[in-house]
Amino acid sequence: MSDYAISVEGLTKRFGRLLAVDAVSFSVSRGSTCALLGGNGAGKTTTLSVLLGLLLPTAGRVTVLGEDILRHRYRVLPRMNFTSPYVDLPKRLTVAENLTVYARLYGLKNVKPRLEELSEELQIGVFMHRPYGTLSAGQRTRVALAKSLLNKPEVLLLDEPTASLDPDMGDRMRGMLINYQRHSAATLLLASHNMLEVERMCSDVIMMREGKIVDQGTPQALLTSYGRSNLEEVFLDVARRRADEQAMRGAT
């Protein structure tokens, strides 16, 4: 068994003339939490989509839990899950109905006890029987997290997992995800713009820019290498280096 839960080699995705992801290679160790960082359009969501099999790459190889995701995604999908602000749940169904449907899709045997567990952990019990469409953005984010944890995934891909949550609820959800990761030894890969979240949750960071990996390492190693005191400053250094490079190119 490989030490890596996720292994990406030479991943390239081209949309017409746009090169969204350019020969990216990285690995995520089993039981770790890794962040994909980068500005808008850096290629994070595209990379996550390929990892889930939602998007077919132009080139490259992606292995999740030892399975080639392009050839055998259905072997590994029951052991994975994800959440993203780009997707939603049926709005007229209640939270309980939505979660029941997905619990059945993931083949859960005892649906009710699992919903009760998640209801407590994510504090969604109060609106469990309300239509999903009537919930606030923050409440929807918590329901989406509940959906992503239904099958107790071994690999959890999170795209902006605490977007729309107030600081208190965001902090609670991060705590809950950290606990889940520790107790289940799951592998978490998250794309986020929240640097405090990344510092608190992640043991590894991959920095992307214009579809390429420009740096990676532990948060501490990146802070040291950039001579910065927090990841927000590192992020700005990476993002602005591009602006500086473009300015230099323009000057010459």
């Binding site: 989509s49 169904l93 059945r104 993931y106 083949g107």
Partner: protein, 268 residues
Amino acid sequence: MSAVVFSPRRIGAMVLRHVYLMRKSWPRILELAYYPSVQMILWGFIAKFLTTNSSWVAQAPGLLIASVLLWDILFRSQLGVSLTFFEEMYSRNLGHLFVSPLRSYELVCSKLVISLLRTLIGVGAAALLAIPLYHYSIFSMGLPLIAFFANLMMMGWAIGLMVSALVLRWGLGAENLAWALIFAFAPVSGVYYPINVLPGWLQPLALALPSSHVFEGMRAVMIEHQFRTDQLLSALLLNLIYLAAGIVIFLAAFHAARKRGLLLYIGE
């Protein structure tokens, strides 16, 4: 690790999703039966009038009512597939569905089951209403009705899958096709008149449609009191081709959507 390649439980989950939706909204149930009933009532009166003015209709007074009910089976079964697919797009749910273990062909199967339920509710109500209103029961057709029903359902599914594929490819801008496309088949299907009424050059096209064989078969049962096995076999054979084409086109559109990254972003 092996994976279950065909799971009735997953199909059941998708059916449950739409049952939840239907059972909480009585206007939705009512709407399913409303249009078939209004159509049936309208054509019932037309039939009543024509019975006394047309020797052809007078041969079988229930002919036009049977025609409109069978046409609605085709129309509703097509809508049942395409509208339930649009539901997933409206709710931006495709991304979640396709990262779950649900397979694309299981999604297709679930749409067919939901379409059957919706058609039975909608057309069933209109068929029952015709009994007290016009003293005509389509069920008096007996076993041939099952053959007609099955064939029209299959053709509706095939068109529904093709419409869903177009919408998956072109987005919800192509949604109107769900309502409009089927009507292009009506004039050449011989719903209310025999195929030989059509101009010669149009008749081969009509005979390439499963629906025209069903309606010819229906008239044979009602007017000549004979069951045309040849018409049934032609409809069945054509339907198998149509349904296979519908499935292939839908799966190809799904594959193209995975290439273009549409599954994550497609929606309202």
